[in-house]
Amino acid sequence: MDRIKRFLRYLIENPGALLGFALIIIYLVMVFFAPLIAPYDPVTPTSEFRSPPSRQHLFGTDPSGLDVFSRTIYAARTDLVIGLTGTLLSMLVGIPLGLVVGYYRGWAVSLILRLADLLQAFPVFVLAMAIVAVAGASATNVILVIGLLNSPVYIRLVRSEVLTFRERPVMEAAKCVGNSNARILRHYLFPNNIEAALVQASVNVGWAILLTASLSFIGAGVPVPTPEWGSMVSIGAAMMITGEWWAAFFPGVAIGFCVLGFALFGDAIRVLVNPERRS
């Protein structure tokens, strides 16, 4: 009860954190309750083409007659699932590797670090674009690419934590008592060094969603009929030239608020977990 009160007070004192939490809740509602909120089906055309925002079509319709509002809501599913799964994948790969790379020494460790370095040398979007272009545009491939390209971040983050933690007396004691390396990794290193990674995760989900939308915008992401914010902007872009702004405007706003929400959420988590670390 006390924790809840402290948490609520924190939210009230920090409007940024409140906004972040509120946005995330709104988007989660969009993901789970899409069929209840959306007035039209996202892939079935209506009879109005290119019509501006109105009472019937809150965000207007696009060139194929699809209702932009409903598609924006359904697209939350696509984008958030891809973003969350991709980030989860990169954590599943990056955190254990980071623990191992921080704890052990040797040429294999250096090799893994070198590979991570190499992966980070390329501009992320370029590499993502190229990989998806060659492997084929699908949601699965986008998730895999996000997982691959974001793991070096976690490797480095966890590794730097482990490097300092490794020198502590508790580690020496654990070794003396006779713990095997595997047990040390699992029980000592893992719980104590993943905090920074978990905080980073929220911001990473935002980036993953931006990456997904950017890839879909150029056609190297989620294939077209599936509602996705980036591809919706791409469809609406052709209409923008004639001044019909609604088909591209609203999905972009959706992306912006979503990423903003995750960023603010991540900031709030960072402070909540460690109150001394304020920005």
Partner: protein, 351 residues
């Protein structure tokens, strides 16, 4: 017998100090370049999907796929393919684009100046905006400008670049006619100046063609505005925190006690802002080669970013591969330059 002379020569090879650092970094370049070439090589070869089949199109003639495979060298074992690839690279042969029917190296060289001009101006704009907001925010911490600047930093990182570019076009071109139509680097009615540097602005000034200069600036305004708005965020944050830390520090405290005016204090604090901002500028410059891709596409800028996007849509693999390679090498070079600059600026850094 030659050992004596060899030892005398080796004594002159620097290992410590600036020269030593430079030498070591340049030597480290080689394995990194090798790594980059490996990654770009395997990008096309090892991923699922057969490039020969895709190039052949749907329902090809019986021998076509094998012929394409032989021409692309895909029938040889993988290490031979890599050696051929490296040999070509060292000779400057990046393959051919089947879409433009020209060598990729030619295509890239033709389009690279456009991208670099855009990125340079965009970075200048971002740095200007970022420094301005960051310094103002730090001078009055917690004030209105500070909080607005911080919120702007968050927002700038959240908005998609292609969307912002579209909005810039919509509001400044379509509704208000401030900007020219987004159709490339020069207005269609103006003749381009003779190419000296490849930068439209510089070349038109060198040729004395002020009409072209103004036209080029007008065309640059839209994409540069977009890039500046999007990338000023991290610079704002970094400037603000560095300046804030400096202003709270002992040196400024003492200077204020001595009675120095606020502007002088701000100038002193600004010195400590330079190292992290320069590092950040370097990172942003390397990032923008790939990060300006979408802005280029929306504004039809004909740079290497748009070239890469076109190649993706056309399933043209050689340009994609070459673009990744060029972007990777450029990033490495920029990081090296940033490290050197950092060492020159900050006397405490001793490598």
């Amino acid at each position: 017998m030659f050992a004596r002379y060899w030892r005398r020569i080796i004594r002159f090879i620097p290992t410590k100090g600036y020269a030593g650092f430079l030498l070591r970094r340049l030597l480290a370049f080689i394995p990194l370049m090798l790594g980059i070439s490996l990654v770009t090589f395997f990008l096309v070869r090892m991923l699922p999907g057969d490039p020969a089949r895709t190039l052949a199109g749907s329902s090809p003639y019986p021998g076509v796929i094998e012929a394409i495979r032989a021409r692309m060298g895909l029938d040889k074992p993988i290490h031979i393919q890599y050696l051929i690839y490296m040999g070509n690279l060292l000779r400057g042969d990046l393959g051919d684009s089947w879409f433009t029917s020209k060598p990729v190296a030619y295509d890239l060289a033709q389009r690279a100046p456009a991208t670099f001009e855009l990125i340079t101006f965009g970075l200048i704009g971002a740095v200007g905006l970022g420094l301005f907001l960051g310094i103002l925010g730090a001078l009055k911490p917690g004030g209105l400008i500070d909080r607005l600047a911080q919120f702007y930093g968050l927002l700038a990182g959240a908005l998609p670049d292609f969307w912002l570019a579209l909005l810039v076009i919509l509001f400044l071109f379509y509704y208000n006619h401030i900007l020219p139509p987004p159709m490339g680097r020069l207005p269609l009615s103006i003749m381009p100046p003779p190419t000296v540097t490849g930068f439209m602005t510089v070349d038109s000034l060198l040729a004395g063609n002020f009409e072209a200069f103004r036209g080029a600036l007008a065309q640059l305004a839209g994409p540069v505005l977009t890039l500046s708005l999007l990338n000023a965020g991290p610079i704002t944050k970094m400037t603000r925190s560095a300046m804030h830390d400096a202003l709270e520090g002992d040196v400024i405290h003492f200077a204020r006690a001595c009675g120095l005016p606020r502007i002088t204090l701000a100038r002193y604090a600004f010195h400590s802002v330079l190292p992290p901002v320069i590092t950040l500028i370097g990172f942003l410059y390397a990032f923008l080669v790939g990060g300006a891709v979408l802005v280029e596409t929306v504004f039809s800028w004909n740079g290497i970013g748009q070239y890469a996007v076109q190649s993706i849509v056309n399933k043209d693999y050689a340009p994609i591969q070459a673009f990744v390679l060029v972007a990777g090498i450029f990033s490495l070079v920029v990081y090296l330059v940033v490290d050197i600059l950092y060492m020159l600026i900050d006397p405490r850094v001793r490598l």
